[in-house]
């Protein structure tokens, strides 16, 4: 029993996409441009050469936010989307009817269709691979060259993530929607 979350020291991110590849290899995610559980967003740079705004091209690594108040879970007609015992938002592919409602409901574009099961897939915090084996880091955290990511139990006050969130300012994406994401961006 835990409440897993991830803190992202996003200013470290160099958009190398090691996390994306690690995720695909660890979790057997299919290839294809729209089949990804994790991504890094870049805004198109502002300005004209040579006067470009460096600040305008920040890299924002992201994935399923494991919302505490998850629209995807709320809208699912069959409870295929559920909170597991660690408060990780999961999809039970046996129950998913592929109504695609959750894909529309997710404000973060975190969900996609897995072509093998023809059900919806998304980041699982590596619950059925690494966590199931008792490992304590996710594939994306472990491999990251600049150590952007810290995964851990938000309920454990001594976990690294809890310490980070206590000691550093942070924000969430689309916080105004009230989804209460468990991905935290460190300032």
């Amino acid at each position: 029993m835990a409440r897993y979350g991830m803190a992202l020291d996003y200013k470290n991110c160099i958009n190398c996409k090691a996390c994306e590849v690690a995720c695909k290899e660890e979790n057997g995610v299919l290839l294809g441009a729209d089949k990804h559980r994790i991504w890094v967003g870049v805004k198109e740079i502002e300005g004209e050469w040579p006067n470009l705004s460096i600040a305008s091209s920040t890299f924002i690594p992201s994935q399923c936010q494991h919302c505490d108040n998850a629209p995807c879970q709320e809208v699912c007609p069959t409870h295929a989307t559920y909170y597991d015992e660690n408060n990780v938002v999961r999809v039970d592919s046996d129950k998913c009817i592929l109504c695609s409602y959750c894909m529309n409901a997710c404000p973060y574009d975190a969900r996609y269709v897995d072509d093998r099961t023809m059900t919806v897939d998304k980041c699982t915090f590596c619950s059925d691979t690494r966590l199931a084996r008792g490992e304590t880091t996710t594939a994306c955290q472990n491999t990251c060259p600049t150590k952007v990511r810290t995964f851990g139990d938000l309920d454990d006050p001594n976990s690294e993530i809890s310490i980070l969130l206590r000691t550093r300012e942070h924000f969430s994406l689309k916080a105004h929607l009230g989804t209460k994401p468990k991905l935290f961006y460190l300032k």
């Binding site: 996409k17 290839l31 072509d115």
Partner: protein, 802 residues
């Protein structure tokens, strides 16, 4: 319902649309029956799908060293039922600090690339048409020795050349088994004509730094507080540990970062300031920084007095030449006031670093640029100290004794012609190739032995490389994939990839030195073999026949063995190193064990064997600090300062003058940047999801970055009616290519950029073939005068929408 998304399906799907010229079909009979054969897959230990979800059951974790690029990051390969399902970072290696980059993670796809070379092949068609016959290893070795009706064998060639071993050329790309190939070809077979990546990569940097401060050094980015990084793109061209350290403290977090690059890179995106410098003008920038430091007395006088050689001359030189920021502004495109500011900040910083860079074959003045950079670094006094450029230490491994034979007939190498300080070892690729091609070489070069190197992509002016290869009587390639160059070879030997082989122990020095061992995660797939096994077997095959040729032409040998009995002659043959195979007596793993146990003890071997890494006191020193960070050496044990009084900075290098090279960095006006009206300067470089030409067939990486594009300034593109994705033709004096356009403000109006390594011409590489453009087809083959290293960014091109 299980749907297997095959490579082909993948090609037809999301990416096929972006493939230039339609879907690549493998017409080559290299591939013949391999695609889609279920039985075949099962037999060869290939995974069932492109990516494999890791299981929760039994698994083996084998320490390996990544072989996708030069860094050799350490990892553990997760092996389930004989299939590598995941590559995880290894937390014990101080150089790679528990990381694998995107390419490192995607290494599985290289291992299981269906297009891999699977068995030895010999050419049955014409060079370049891709017609090969599958043969046994023995047949392949035999073809190298004796030739076939299509090509000559080494025996005939050497006989005709009267045992002039220099008639064989060889080349090898970077890697852990490179030395063995050099032993085989250079020391045992005995040719001096070796070229490798050095003269197309970093020769001028190494040369410039070594000749100035005696080392290339390591930038202690964890403790620096000011960084100028010019012509190095660490966010995309990954070098460990620099890439990991640099970006944790950039952007207002302790490491002020100034980036100089003609284009806005991901490194620039992390900078405090980015200067869009004109290509090839960095030297003027550094000279101007130096001018400010000297003119305003900002430099570290004590340090310079103590360690500098010829500083006063330099001072005069800089001041009298008036290398002012105002002067440099016109050349570099960087405002004078910015240069003043940067120089002053640099000299005022506690621990400033002017980053050395790596690939440096940009312009003709590069050697002098690196010298100027090293000197400027020294002026700050921040050398051989924490937070500066450090010398570090290396755990030394015993040098293997090679019983090197002497051949009297062998002629010396010739590619040093017109070059100031030719490298005897690695030569000059361009000079070597061009002299062979245009007939100015003093003797014929008739065979090329190649390994892990793809000059059709890496050496400028690929047309000439093709002609060069076609001119040979015999081309042999050891590779893992049917690369562009491989397709011009007569005998192709398939090597086991880095995940299938144990490599000789390597040592990595620096602040936190360690030794590492790559261990085979799985047995070699198909009929591939470890390089050392290939060297040995080939040596065994060639040894006696070549010895016969030596006996026929080598007067020294003839004198020596005159009147010897058969046994005595055999003894002479063995004792004098003519037994070519004697360098590989033990398999690599056993040799590693023996050597490590003898040097560091049995315990060390146990640790190395299990963890892939070893350094003294590792069990004591190595600690996990938090989920992301490890301690390798305690602070007090890091090798920040190792030189003391012996540190010398050669500022005025008088010996250079004797070779016709400026003894102090000097700007020559012919280096001023200019591009004729209507043309563009072509720049090339790296991307974080590709390694040169080596990964273009990697499905995972190709998924991330389907092809290369031509960066062209957006406003210029608008004027020319070029939009994103439009096909344009890029032509230079040596060739032309077609490539998609990427209009962006990240590049100057008179410059264009493309990623290096794309545009494969080998049809046997399904994913890489015809994908994007090969920059080597349009880059002119110019060399710089000091080492004859390639100059890659002095080509102007025209752009036309097609």
């Amino acid at each position: 319902m299980e749907v297997e998304i095959s490579r082909r399906r993948f090609l037809q799907g999301s990416v096929a649309m972006t493939v230039v010229g339609g879907t690549a079909l493998s017409t080559s009979n290299l591939l013949s029956s391999e695609h889609g054969g279920g039985e075949y897959k099962a037999a060869s230990g290939m995974p069932e799908s492109v990516t494999t979800k890791t299981g929760t059951g039994e698994a083996e974790n084998v320490p390996f060293l990544c072989g996708i690029c030069v860094n050799k990051c350490a990892g553990f390969a997760r092996v389930e039922n004989g299939v590598v399902t995941k590559l995880n970072p290894n937390p014990y290696f101080p150089k790679s600090r528990n990381m694998l980059c995107a390419r490192g993670n995607a290494g599985i796809q290289t291992l299981y690339d269906p297009d891999r070379l699977k068995y030895p092949l010999i050419r049955i068609g014409e060079r370049g048409d891709g017609k090969y016959k599958r043969v046994s290893w023995e047949e392949a070795y035999d073809a190298i020795l004796n030739g076939t009706d299509k090509f000559k064998g080494l025996k005939q060639i050497l006989d005709e050349e009267k045992d002039n071993r220099a008639t064989i050329g060889y080349c090898n790309g970077e890697g852990l088994s490179k030395e063995g190939f050099e032993v085989l070809m250079g020391e045992k077979i005995g040719t001096p004509n070796y070229v490798d990546e050095v003269s197309i990569c970093l020769e001028t940097t190494l040369g410039g730094y070594f000749s100035t401060i005696g080392t290339y050094g390591e930038a202690d980015l964890n403790n620096a507080d000011y960084l100028i990084i010019a012509g190095a793109n660490r966010a995309e061209a990954i070098i460990t540990p620099d890439t990991m350290d640099l970006f944790k403290r950039s952007r207002g977090r302790g490491l002020k970062t100034i980036v100089l690059d003609p284009r806005f890179t991901n490194t620039a995106a992390k900078a405090d300031r980015w200067y869009a410098i004109n290509p090839g003008t960095d030297l003027a920038f550094v000279l101007a920084l130096t001018y400010v430091a000297i003119n305003e007395n900002l430099y570290d006088k004590d340090f310079v007095t103590k360690h500098g050689v010829g500083f006063e001359d330099y001072k005069k030189h800089i001041l009298s030449n008036k290398y002012t920021p105002e002067w440099a502004e016109k050349i570099t495109n960087i405002p004078a006031k910015e240069i003043y500011k940067t120089a002053r900040e640099f000299m005022a910083a506690r621990s400033p670093i002017y980053y050395q860079g790596r690939r440096s074959v940009f312009s003709k003045n590069d050697f002098q640029l690196r010298r100027a950079m090293a000197i400027f670094q020294a002026l700050s006094g921040n050398l051989d100290k924490k937070g500066g450029i450090v010398y570090g230490k290396k755990l030394s491994l015993p040098k293997e004794e090679i019983n090197t034979p002497m051949y009297a007939q062998v002629k010396s190498r010739f590619d040093g012609k017109d070059i100031a300080i030719p490298s005897d070892k690695t030569g000059s690729w361009i000079q070597f190739r061009n002299m062979v091609l245009d007939g100015t070489a003093p003797y014929p070069v008739r065979a090329m032995f190649m390994r892990k190197h793809n000059p059709m992509s890496g050496v400028p002016n690929a047309k000439k490389t093709e002609e060069f290869l076609k001119k040979m009587d015999l081309n042999v390639m050891i590779d893992i994939l049917p690369s562009d160059t491989t397709m011009f070879c007569d005998v192709i030997l398939p090597e086991a990839s880095y995940l299938e082989r144990t490599s000789p122990v390597a040592t990595y020095g620096g602040l936190e030195p360690a030794i590492v061992q790559r261990k085979a995660a799985i047995k070699p797939l198909f009929e591939t073999k470890e390089p050392e096994v290939i060297y040995k077997e080939l040596a065994e095959k060639l040894s006696k026949p070549l010895w016969e040729i030596t006996k026929k032409y080598d007067e020294d040998v003839q004198d020596d063995i005159k009147g010897m009995s058969k046994d005595e002659e055999e003894k002479y043959y063995k004792e004098n190193g003519f037994d070519l195979a004697d360098a590989w007596e033990k398999p690599v793993y056993e040799a590693n064990k023996e050597m490590v146990e003898a040097t560091f003890g049995e315990e060390a071997w146990k640790i190395l064997d299990e963890k892939g890494v070893y350094y003294p006191n590792m069990e004591k020193y190595h600690k996990q600090l938090n989920p992301n960070e490890f301690q390798y050496y305690p602070e007090s044990k890091k090798n920040y300062t190792t030189q003391g009084d012996k540190l010398k900075v050669i500022i005025n290098f008088k010996n250079l003058a004797k070779k016709g090279v400026d003894s102090m960095p000097t700007w020559h006006d012919e280096w001023n940047f200019s591009v004729p009206e209507g043309k563009f300067r072509l720049v090339t470089g790296r991307h974080a999801q590709f390694t040169q030409s080596g990964t273009t067939n990697n499905l995972m990486l190709r998924d991330l970055i389907p092809t290369n594009y031509l960066w062209i300034n957006k406003r210029v593109a608008d004027e020319k009616g070029i939009r994103f994705g439009d096909m344009v033709e890029v032509s230079s004096s040596v060739g032309k290519v077609q490539i998609k356009a990427y209009p962006t403000e990240k590049i100057a109006p008179n410059q264009v950029f493309m990623l290096h390594g794309f545009g494969g011409s080998s049809e046997a590489m399904e994913i890489a073939y015809g994908n994007g453009a090969n920059d080597a087809l349009i880059i002119e083959d110019k060399i710089e005068p000091v080492y004859g290293a390639a100059v890659m960014h002095e080509t102007n091109v025209e752009i036309r929408k097609v």
